[in-house]
Amino acid sequence: MATMSRSQPEPQPMPSGDVPPAKRDGFPAATLMAAGVGVFVLGLMTTWAEASASMKSRLQLNDDVGPLSGKTTWAVIAFAASWVVLSVVLWKRDKCLNIALGVFAVLTVAGLVGTFPTFFQAFG
């Protein structure tokens, strides 16, 4: 019985002239950390608004939307501002992605916990 075999092309090394040059990882590191800051601030504001009635009313930037308007606005401002600042600081730096990844992971997990109802409602 004839067997069918799928012939796969042999991997061809790419001509070295076609490989784009390596890039510094300062900007990606800044971007990752800024995203973490944005997520963390959202979690912080969510929990803080639950713990403090005055904070909750201060976060009410839009009466129709309620405190969610302030929590999300501050999170986006924190993301954007930290992105600009960190990009300026880290633009010419290299080999900082590992640290940035750690910072991002910690801040993101903290932000996710802070926005989880069972957690933040415990402060109410």
Binding site: M14, P15, P20, F27, V39, G66, A75, V76, F79, Q121
Partner: protein, 177 residues
């Protein structure tokens, strides 16, 4: 067959933008996965990189539009307080849920979770799109960075999926009419 203004906005928020978000995610993941120099020629890398730009950027834009329309349009109708003495809560979804002990958790847990985590998705998606644009075709030669970006991209999608699923369930329990 017609949709009210509120139903039209809800459909735009959840279905139209949700579909665009899903399509962009699929294109992005496929491009991330196949962006390998041992699989494609340099022309193929260029083509996949453009697809990756499109997938990640469109997903980020769709995520921002989804949270903005959700928060500043649909959520306003959802949380509107009924005038005192109201007994028919059909136009007040939040009040309708809280008035029924069997459905109150859809607000206390479902909406409270959804309204907050949904905003994480555009932040993460924007970060991924920016890093993809920064690296460009070089990303094909950076397997570790590609894995990191794919992980964050999938996380953004997963978070949006949780928010979208909660939104669908809540709309079923108490629609915005």
């Amino acid at each position: 067959m017609e949709l009210s203004n509120r139903e039209a906005w809800t459909a735009f928020h959840g279905m139209i933008l949700g579909a665009i978000f899903l399509l962009a995610f699929s294109g992005g993941v496929a491009s991330f996965w196949s962006l390998r120099p041992q699989w494609v020629t340099s022309a193929g890398i260029k083509e996949r990189t453009y697809r990756l730009y499109a997938g990640t950027t469109i997903m980020a834009i769709a995520a921002w539009l989804t949270v903005l329309t959700g928060t500043y349009k649909v959520y306003v109708w959802y949380r509107a307080a009924p005038p005192s003495g109201t007994t028919d809560f059909s136009k007040y979804p939040k009040a309708a849920l809280l008035a029924n002990p069997d459905k109150a958790d859809w607000h206390d847990f479902g909406m409270e979770w959804k309204e907050h985590i949904a905003w994480i998705a555009p932040i993460l998606a924007t970060a991924v799109a920016a890093m993809v644009i920064y690296y460009g075709p070089r990303l094909a030669h950076e397997p570790r960075i590609r894995s990191i970006l794919l992980g964050v991209f999938v996380l953004a999608f997963g978070i949006a999926a949780v928010a979208g699923m909660m939104g669908a369930f809540i709309t079923k329990a108490a629609p915005v009419l």
